[in-house]
Symmetry: C2
Subunit: 509 residues, 2 copies
């Protein structure tokens, strides 16, 4: 590990951590953050040493309390700071004396409210001492595997009915990293991903980013084995040249999806008032993302949907999409969205059409199935028919990606069509995405089952088309640079190691 | 009621209905449809007479079975046909002799597979006898209040785990009508609306529309008291001139949202192969919808989101949107989407800024709240602060609509902010929409509570901006024609009658 990477690693897996501002008062951020470390240590997840720092307490949650950092025995990898802004410089000086590696400043009251001078003082101390700083004005780090959890927002709430409900959930461990400038958006993202059962590798909220930049964070995540996809939310990007260099290096191996808001003039004005940063022309961002192979999401939903697609599926080697559907209307919606995004939904080759005609003759596909593109297997389609149609499209060398619209409402379609389609897909190196429409039990079950088998599933035809579009765009970027083959090989090797393909779930069908 | 309307009414509230092809075999559509009538009659919801028609049975589900329509005593308002295509012409002839008012042909095997001749024969019999026909190749009608339910798709499914899950749910009664050419999309729409708890007044799937057109259906729904908004899914529109005339008449009083797919060349080709209809140039549809005040949704999600907004909120009298947020980033996303759709998110007037400054001085808003547009009440906002900020925006005569982004994750915000915001909104005649991000308990609770109080809530900032955009577009259309004032007055009168505003839910806060 390079020295800089190793130092960054202290943010996520510190061998020792001090919480300055740790508190006994349960509503305080300093209580929640320290308690999270304590609980994760007791559960055996967090393996480092933990020290509360608070001059007014002897002990907190059974841990001896220290009046300052200097009183702590042994080395400190990480200091989390939760004291008011005007005390932070002193804490930084203590941290410098103590030679700590990294500091996360949760506290706000710095450049985001015009207090640039105070932030500069922090940076000066940090630079001189070689300390890396995350924040200030941030939510810090969440890494479920390492047991690092600085989220201080209330995990549950009590409703007026007396019911206790989850308010700030922790998503399950997974391979999507979240890097966000906005803490509020970050925590909303965790809530979204938890509900959609998309697993997260690491979460970093860097707020005012007085020291560690998004480029450095991307660079760190390039070497993080658990992270396969990086979701980056930014309102501005500092040190653009460094960002371009790093981004290009990262996207060669790991897809990066960006949500950069402030696209319009009014949006940029709002962004400036939010973070104090001048965002610059939006076109420059468009160009920078395109040049470095970062997929820029058009809105929040696309941001998450695309992240899921890139985490689960290999990129496509071209723009030709084949669509299979049991519902005519939704099939057309998928075609429209594909074409509007610049993908091709062309008529199939004669050879492929011939294969469909033969299946129809043999009674293996409904007589009135159409074999243009989309393949409409009709409302009388069975699971086996979906399997056969999927196989034909995967075998067509002119098709680069497949969208399966399997609306569960049709009477003949059985639950096992999902496993059958997934089994076919697992034998090929082309991407596939799925869609089922509906928000009640069977639709949720269908989508989760697809997800579980590594096929990202979406709730509208257009969402599935957008997901496929991202797989194509990333694939074409890699292909242009002659990196595609290597990426896909590595991706599939990884995937076969970590998913349930060819497990008994599939072989039983 | 006009004669034509009265005849159409027989589709939805027949005093007597025969099901031709009623069956004892539980997997047959003819069983499910007849059983639905039987169950609704036993529950006292369907109040008409019901007759199974099947020459091979003496009785079905306890009802005397008839060998043909002619054997049924008394008049018949409606006949539902579920026999194979080649028997349908004979059934139509019997229906003509019997002088039935309306026929729904569920059976497929007509023009959608090139069998135009058979379809023409049906139309000839119908025209001569003055029978109105819905279908063929359709799912027919669902009207929960009248107990008419022709949905024959399996309501539940048994998973391999043994669990029984809802597969084709019936949404709750409400004021959104669904008129759809695609049955598959229709049933998917019901699944979506049921899950999102959006209530439905009437559902009509008209398939090949050999007789009753979408224009006639819109015209009927104009006089349907339960319907406040019409969601229209079409792949083509027949008799364009009639459609334009009727649409203009309808949208004066009830908003119509259209999802017309086949927007691209490849999509139009797919549509042609699906229904056999030539869709014509997409620009003509754009122009027709714009001319008649129909809001054309860009995708499935917008279709439903906009329907919900128009059902719950009055249209806006102008393009200026005010945004309140407790989360900077999501606020910027909402601004971007508003501006990209042509709405204005301008700086507030001096007077409005002054009001915010005073609240800040008095400590009633956080010191670092920004009062540009968006108003960022910051992560330390309380329920009262949301209430005050909402009131200020509603009072500003330059603001035509309000978007409230109330992310529930912030520690100080209590559940009652929703009721407080709703109470403020109920005193004004401007539209308001809400957003909370997240997919776990508290986010779902927050959005449902907003919905319950008549404020449509969305799961992303962009979705809420799109919903507001539709309220603005419809408002500007009505305003241009000088119909806005009357519409808003009627809308608010209706709304005050039917929602829980100023009930004890609100006065208790």
């Amino acid at each position: 590990m390079k020295p800089s990477i190793e130092q960054m690693h202290a943010f996520f897996s510190p061998r020792s951590v001090a919480v300055v501002g740790a508190s006994k008062k349960i509503n305080k951020a300093g209580h929640v953050i320290f308690k999270n470390f304590v609980e994760n240590k007791r559960r055996g997840v967090f393996k480092g040493e933990i020290y509360p720092v608070n001059p007014h307490e002897d002990s907190i949650l059974g841990f001896k309390c220290y009046s300052s950092l200097s009183k702590i025995p042994g080395e400190l990898d990480l200091v989390v700071v939760v004291v008011p802004a005007n005390h932070v410089v002193n804490v930084m000086r203590d941290a410098a004396s103590k030679k700590v590696k990294t500091v996360v400043i949760i506290s706000s009251g710095f450049s985001e409210i015009g207090n640039h001078e105070l932030e500069n003082q922090i940076v000066t101390v940090a630079k001189k001492a070689g300390i890396r700083v995350l924040g200030p004005n941030c939510l810090g780090v969440y890494d479920s595997r390492a047991g690092v959890d600085m989220l201080f927002l209330p995990e549950t709430r009590v409703l007026t009915t007396g019911d206790v409900v989850i308010a700030t959930p922790r998503p399950m461990p997974g391979n999507v990293a979240i890097v966000t400038q906005s803490g509020a958006f970050g925590v909303a993202a965790l809530d979204y991903l938890a509900g959609r059962q998309i697993g997260v590798s690491k979460f970093v909220s860097f707020g005012n980013k007085c020291d560690v930049t998004e480029a450095e964070m991307l660079h760190y995540l390039l070497y993080d084995e658990e992270t396969k996809v990086i979701l980056l939310y930014v309102e501005d990007i500092k040190s653009g040249r460094e960002f371009l260099e790093v981004a290009e290096k990262v996207t060669k191996e790991k897809p990066v999806v960006a949500l950069k808001c402030g696209r319009t003039e009014a949006g940029a004005r709002a962004a400036a008032s939010h973070t104090g940063a001048m965002a610059g022309s939006d076109r420059i961002y468009d160009a920078a993302f395109a040049q470095t192979g970062i997929f820029r999401a058009k809105d929040m939903e696309e941001f998450f949907d695309v992240g899921k697609a890139l985490a689960m599926q290999p990129p496509a080697a071209g723009e030709n999409v084949g669509i299979i559907t049991d519902a005519g209307g939704p099939g057309i919606m998928a075609v429209d969205e594909c074409e509007l995004r610049g993908l091709n939904v062309r008529r199939f080759s004669d050879e492929t059409v011939q294969k469909f005609e033969e299946l129809k003759k043999e009674g293996k596909l409904p007589k009135f199935a159409t074999n243009l593109n989309p393949v409409d297997v009709t409302g009388s389609a069975t699971s086996k028919m979906f399997e056969l149609a999927t196989e034909i499209l995967f075998e067509d060398p002119e098709i680069h990606g497949v969208i399966v619209l399997g609306l569960h409402h049709t009477p003949a379609l059985q639950e096992d069509f999902i496993d059958r389609v997934a089994k076919v897909a697992s034998k090929h190196d082309k991407p596939i995405v799925a869609c089922d429409i509906g928000e009640t039990e069977m639709a949720l079950h269908t989508r989760f089952r697809f997800d579980k088998l590594g096929i990202p599933a979406y709730s509208s035809p257009e969402d599935s088309a957008r997901a496929m579009n991202a797989l194509v765009r990333y694939g074409l970027y890699l292909k242009k640079n002659k990196w595609l083959k290597e990426y896909v090989e590595r991706f599939l090797k990884d995937k076969r190691k970590t998913t349930t393909y060819s497990s008994n779930i599939l072989t039983s069908t």
